[in-house]
């Protein structure tokens, strides 16, 4: 099992969700986060006080899927989240040791 963690532009969330739904991925967790990579932030000015805002709003999408689907899901996320500009985000893939469905104690891929 793999965990796919994608940090994406908030406005691309709907596209990513639609694309994942289209290939049959139906479980995910979304978190609103802030961060930055190479993307510059922006300047805000309040009555002459300047603030450099370099942590920008992003959305983190997390899902756990079977090993054989990992490449396909990553490709789908990357394609649907891409605008081609700095700030599009990143995707990380992790190995998952175990998954348990709380409702009935299913284990492994059966729990996904």
């Amino acid at each position: 099992m793999k965990k796919i963690e994608a940090i994406i532009q908030p406005h691309k969330l709907e596209d990513v969700k639609e694309a994942l739904k289209a290939i049959g991925v139906d479980g995910m967790t979304i978190t609103e986060v802030r961060g930055h990579g190479r993307q510059k932030g922006h300047k805000e000015v309040y009555r002459g006080m300047e603030y450099q805002v370099d942590l920008l709003p992003k959305v983190k999408v997390e899902m756990v899927i079977s090993d054989q689907r990992a490449d396909e899901v990553v490709k789908t996320v990357v394609n649907s989240a891409r605008t081609g500009k700095i700030g599009d985000g990143k995707v990380f893939v992790y190995d998952v040791a175990e998954a348990i469905r709380i409702r009935n104690d299913d284990r492994g891929e059966a729990a996904l």
């Binding site: 805000e44 000015v45 309040y46 009555r47 002459g48 006080m49 603030y51």
Partner: protein, 437 residues
């Protein structure tokens, strides 16, 4: 026939009184609305989230504290005849302040209407100061400060400018007749200059110019500023103390100046920073409202536009360039907007005041006297300057003494831990936003 005429006269008088009183009670309510929710929202949105309730409380609690003071002794000290500098105690506990008009202040409305209308001014003035000490003053110290400030600064100054026989009164026999229609000196210079003293005395907030201190909710500040704009019609047009043509003139001047000030500030900011901010636009509105306050019942619409536009530019310059040059932490720019805007407005009143708008000043033979420089009376500018200097002086000396007293008795500033925690939790034991609830 004579009975019918006298009945008719009585009916006319009663009809006028009904109209005037309706407007004055409405105005009183509008001015209260400026403090709560107007100023509470305006200031509340500009502080950090952990201080939103503490900041709103600074405005709200004064609606209670000053009211009680006013009933017991405040109105008497401010508006009873007495010395040129303070009223006597004839209206102690509002004795004799009833439904019969007081001809000196408003011949067609109950004296009690005038009393409660003036109370709303006494409430908002100290609330304006709270912009300077926001986010770091002890609540108990703020209460003591306000009570002492009312006695040492507000009541005397209100008496000097508006009270019968007051030293600076233009219409009720003052030695140096200064024109202040709705409170440029009494309200805005007094609060704005006191605010500067408070900001200097308390020192900067922890982390000022190091940590980000962005306004936590400019949206509620916009709502607050709009309520201030609307409420200000009661403040300025109500100061005619009648539903008269003068009230209309003040209403129009107020609105025009405010509009021009929005554009002035916006323009300056656009040129200076590359973007016109919403916070700038609403700050411009308040600057314009402040500056037109003393002039509102004396100037024509086009000078009002000019006064407003200049106020937008000057106050922008004060809160950006001047504040950062001197480095004082006037947290919500009470000085930059009210002190500077009030001073500008008071001086320009001496320039643009005209008897074409306000023919209230007459010589012994009943001839209408010219008012400002535009009426060929350059001396009025000097009178305005004297009133400005006296107001500055009283605000500086009074506020400094009071802060010393408060510091000695209870200490004015919260502890560093309390400041980091925020005034909402440390002073009031609650939070403004409980999203999990």
């Amino acid at each position: 026939m004579e009975t019918r005429i006298s009945n008719l006269e009585a009916a006319v008088k009663s009809a006028q009184s009904a109209g005037d009183n309706a407007w004055m009670l409405t105005s009183a309510a509008l001015v209260l609305m400026m403090t709560g929710p107007g100023l509470a929202l305006f200031y509340g949105g500009l502080v950090r989230r952990k201080n939103v309730l503490g900041t709103m409380m600074h405005s709200f609690v004064l609606m209670a504290v000053v009211t009680v003071l006013w009933a017991i002794i405040g109105y008497s000290l401010a508006f009873a005849e007495g010395s040129p500098f303070l009223g006597d105690l004839r209206y102690l506990f509002l004795h004799g302040v009833g439904s019969a008009p007081n001809a000196d202040y408003g011949a067609t409305v109950p004296h009690q209407t005038y009393m409660v209308y003036q109370l709303m001014f006494a409430i908002i003035t100290p609330a304006l100061i709270s912009g300077a000490f926001a986010e770091r003053i002890k609540f108990s110290a703020m209460l003591l400060f306000t009570v002492l400030w009312a006695f040492l600064v507000y009541f005397p100054l209100a008496h000097m400018v508006w009270g019968k026989g007051g030293f600076l009164s233009a219409f009720l026999g003052g030695k140096v007749p200064a024109l202040d229609f709705a409170g440029g000196t009494v309200v805005h210079i007094s609060s704005g200059v006191s605010a500067l003293v408070c900001a200097l005395y308390l020192g900067k907030r922890k982390g000022y110019q190091v940590e980000p201190m962005k306004p936590h909710n400019v949206v509620i500040s916009v709502i607050g500023a709009c309520l201030l704009w609307v409420g200000w019609f009661g403040f300025n047009a109500g100061s005619a103390v009648a539903a008269s043509g003068l009230a209309t003139s003040a209403f129009v001047a107020t609105h025009f100046a405010t509009a021009a000030a929005v554009l002035g500030w916006m323009l300056a900011e656009w040129v200076h920073n590359g973007k016109p901010s919403v916070l700038g636009a609403i700050s411009g509105a308040v600057a314009g409202l402040v500056a037109i306050t003393p002039a509102s019942g004396f100037v024509q619409p086009f000078p009002a536009l000019l006064i407003g536009f200049l106020a937008g530019l000057v106050c922008f310059f004060m809160v950006t360039a001047v504040k950062s040059k001197f480095g004082y932490d006037d947290t919500l720019d009470a000085f930059g907007v009210h002190g500077a805007g009030g001073t500008l407005g008071a001086l320009l009143t001496g320039v643009f005041a005209t008897s074409a708008v306000n023919d209230g000043l007459k010589d012994a033979s009943g001839k209408v006297l010219g008012l400002g420089l535009v009426d060929g009376n350059p001396g009025q500018v000097l009178n305005q300057l004297i009133a400005v200097l006296i107001s500055w002086g009283m605000a500086i000396v009074g506020t400094y003494i009071i802060l010393k007293i408060c510091d000695a008795v209870i200490g004015v500033r919260v502890s560093p831990d309390q400041e980091i925690e925020g005034l909402d939790v440390s002073m009031h034991g609650e939070e403004g936003y409980n999203f999990e609830a």
